[in-house]
């Protein structure tokens, strides 16, 4: 019989892992809200951001002191992600404007191959270590192990969501973004530059990808398998709802906690490794009750 303490420990590790999923899912939601594109390439963007960051740190470390190097590398990577966003807008979204969502979805899968192919051509397929300067040792509170990196990741995730919520609510561009996500044509007709908004949104998704890449990279090492993490973000996404930023956090926590609990307590009964599908089945069950996810906008159909 598992002790309540053990249950708590498992739940806590799940909670922190769930927040990491939220970081990846955040990028999906941003893009889906603003352009209605289901961006499958988010995982590839995470990989790309992490790889660029590793390379940038190497370059800047050689030039100056380490602390400066970190921030310089961060800025440089952000700049690269903005450039990538602009390129995606120019060469992928603009020619495909007004196409059915499924075509755009397939185009982002093509983009995934392109980004993964190119980044592996440049960086090869070896594992890079990414050091954030956070010691990989747990804090022990009353015998409860909490990884410092996990805590850092959770803080980053929550901070990003708050920052984005403020950005969406109170800034001029944020208002424009909300207008675009409500109605493309109406937004266009009152003079909101759609192309510019898309670049902004894809850049923001790139930032989310960067932070996700940093945290995952520090945990697992920067390698190809990072882009697979994106698949774990999908159930988080549908659980929370495609259009809700707070839903991402709640969905991430729910998925993370229940997945870990199920793996530890149900897994051994049915043969283990149920982590691969449990999140999806859980999300499916929630969808049956609420087809738009927990926090998604209610789907209204008019005939």
């Amino acid at each position: 019989m598992p002790t309540p303490f053990f249950v708590l420990e498992v739940a806590l590790s799940g909670l922190l892992a769930g927040l990491l999923y939220s970081l990846v899912a955040l990028g999906f939601v941003l893009i889906y809200k603003a352009s209605g594109v289901f961006n499958f390439a988010q995982g590839a963007l995470v990989l790309l951001a992490a790889l660029v960051f590793v390379r940038a740190t190497e370059i800047f470390d050689a030039m100056g002191p380490a602390t400066v190097g970190f921030w310089a590398a961060l800025l440089a990577t952000m700049a690269v992600m903005v450039l990538v966003a602009a390129a995606i807008e120019r060469f992928l979204l603009r020619p495909l404007v007004n196409q059915p969502p499924i075509t755009l979805f397939m185009a982002t899968i093509g983009l995934t191959f392109l980004i993964e192919g190119i980044s592996q051509m440049i960086w090869g397929s070896r594992v890079y270590t990414l050091d954030l300067g956070i010691p990989d040792e747990p804090w022990i509170i009353h015998g409860l192990y909490i990884g410092k990196i996990d805590l850092f990741a959770a803080a980053v995730a929550i901070a990003m969501v708050i920052a984005l919520a403020v950005f969406f609510q109170f800034t001029r561009i944020g208002r424009a973004l909300r207008a675009v996500s409500d109605d493309h044509q109406a937004a266009l007709s009152i003079g909101i530059p759609l192309n510019f908004i898309w670049v902004v949104v894809w850049s923001l998704a790139g930032m989310a990808a960067l932070f996700a890449g940093l945290v995952w990279g520090a945990k697992l090492g920067v390698q190809f398998s990072i882009s697979v993490v994106a698949l774990k973000a999908l159930p988080v996404l549908i659980l929370g709802g495609f259009t809700s930023i707070p839903g991402v956090i709640v969905g991430g926590i729910l998925i993370g906690v229940s997945e870990k609990l199920a793996e530890v307590f149900v897994g051994p009964v049915v043969g283990g490794a149920i982590e691969s599908w449990f999140a999806y089945v859980l999300a499916l069950a929630v969808l049956l009750v609420r087809p738009q996810g927990l926090f998604g906008e209610k789907i209204i159909e008019r005939v």
């Binding site: 289901f38 192919g117 592996q120 495609f242």
Partner: protein, 353 residues
């Protein structure tokens, strides 16, 4: 000049509803199928077993997925899972009841797959669009996990990779490339004809009504649950058939890894690149997706950059992705649309309009 429908006067309803109303189309398709059956006489073993057989098997799977995505408008990412169900069902039927004819085994495998498809199709009544796509991922991962973890399906084999039993039809050995090609081709023709007829008939029309606007379709009397479940059943039947043929006529081994998520995406690519809601597009799409990597392989082999195999495979991946994007931008309705435009041109050729 030669390809036209002017002067073609239909005097019966039957002629009007014919599957290929234009004479030239009918002759061309008969000639094409006839030629396809003669191919083993000239083609090499490599062409038959590494290009043409997978091409036809993928075409069948693409037709299955196209019925679901293109005709019924239900986006599914679980194709690989349904193929795996077909593959494992066929394997289990074949080794547990060895007397069964292979054709019967294939059809039974398709039926099992259809049953699984119906179960996983049930949520589609409530869940729509990309939510449904992600929900079908549940079936993909669950089925994959099931076949890896439950040893009964693999007949308690320890390696997880098992070879399919040798195929015989009425006592004839079917393991040669030409024999396997012929049987796959025959199945493909049967599948394509039934699918084409299905989408032209009442059930196909109700699929399209559901796709275009399910609420409106319900109001005019199309039963959404039944229609959607039939779409799932037919689609999974074809996918399961493709999976079973994959095992028996293509690679000869059964392994869950062959039907992972990438397989689902590959088949979705075929459907989208070929053209949503067309049967002929499935063949174009399958040809594109199968032939392109082989073409790139040979191209790189010609360029001769020895020792950089790793780099080359990544470059291939990038080029593949770029080509998909370019194709989608150039013709978002797929290669079937290009074919249609080409035929339109040919009708008035050599005049511009």
């Amino acid at each position: 000049m030669f390809y036209r429908d002017s002067g073609l006067i239909k005097t019966t309803y039957k002629a009007d509803r014919a599957i290929f109303p234009v004479d030239q189309d009918r002759w061309a398709i008969v000639a094409l199928v006839g030629l396809a059956f003669l191919v083993p006489a000239v083609a090499s073993e490599y062409w038959l077993s590494s290009i043409l057989i997978p091409f036809f098997i993928f075409s069948v799977a693409a037709i299955g997925l196209n019925i679901l995505v293109g005709y019924a408008g239900l986006l599914s990412l679980g194709t690989g899972g349904f193929m795996a169900v077909g593959a494992f069902a066929a394997y289990n039927f074949a080794i547990r009841i060895p007397e069964l004819n292979i054709i019967v085994v294939l059809i039974l495998a398709g039926l099992v797959s259809a049953g699984v498809g119906i179960i996983f199709g049930l949520p589609s009544l409530r869940i729509k669009g990309f939510y449904l796509a992600v929900a079908t991922l549940a079936s993909q991962f669950f089925i994959e996990w099931l076949f890896v973890r439950v040893p009964w399906f693999t007949n308690y084999s320890t390696s997880g990779v098992i070879s399919a039993p040798a195929v015989q039809i009425f006592g004839y050995d079917m393991s040669g490339a030409a024999q396997r090609y012929l049987i796959v081709l025959a199945m493909t023709v049967a599948v394509a004809v039934t699918a084409k007829n299905m989408v032209r008939s009442a059930i196909g029309r109700s699929w399209m009504a559901i796709r275009d606007m399910d609420v409106a379709a319900e109001i005019i009397g199309v039963r959404p649950l039944r229609t959607k479940l039939v779409a799932f059943a037919v689609s999974s039947f074809y996918c399961g058939l493709a999976g079973a043929m994959w095992v028996f006529f293509y690679i000869g081994t059964v392994e869950p890894q062959a039907f992972d998520l990438n397989r689902s995406f590959q088949i979705l690519f075929m459907v989208i690149i070929g053209g949503l809601g067309t049967i002929v597009g499935c063949f174009f799409g399958a040809a594109f997706v199968i032939l392109l990597p082989i073409l790139l392989d040979n191209l790189f082999a010609l360029l001769g950059t020895g020792g950089h195999a790793d780099l080359l495979s990544h470059a291939q991946m990038a080029i593949y992705g770029a080509l998909i994007i370019i194709l989608l931008i150039k013709e978002p309705h797929g290669m079937a649309k290009m074919w249609q435009i080409f035929r339109q041109r040919m009708r008035i050729w050599p005049f511009p309009y």
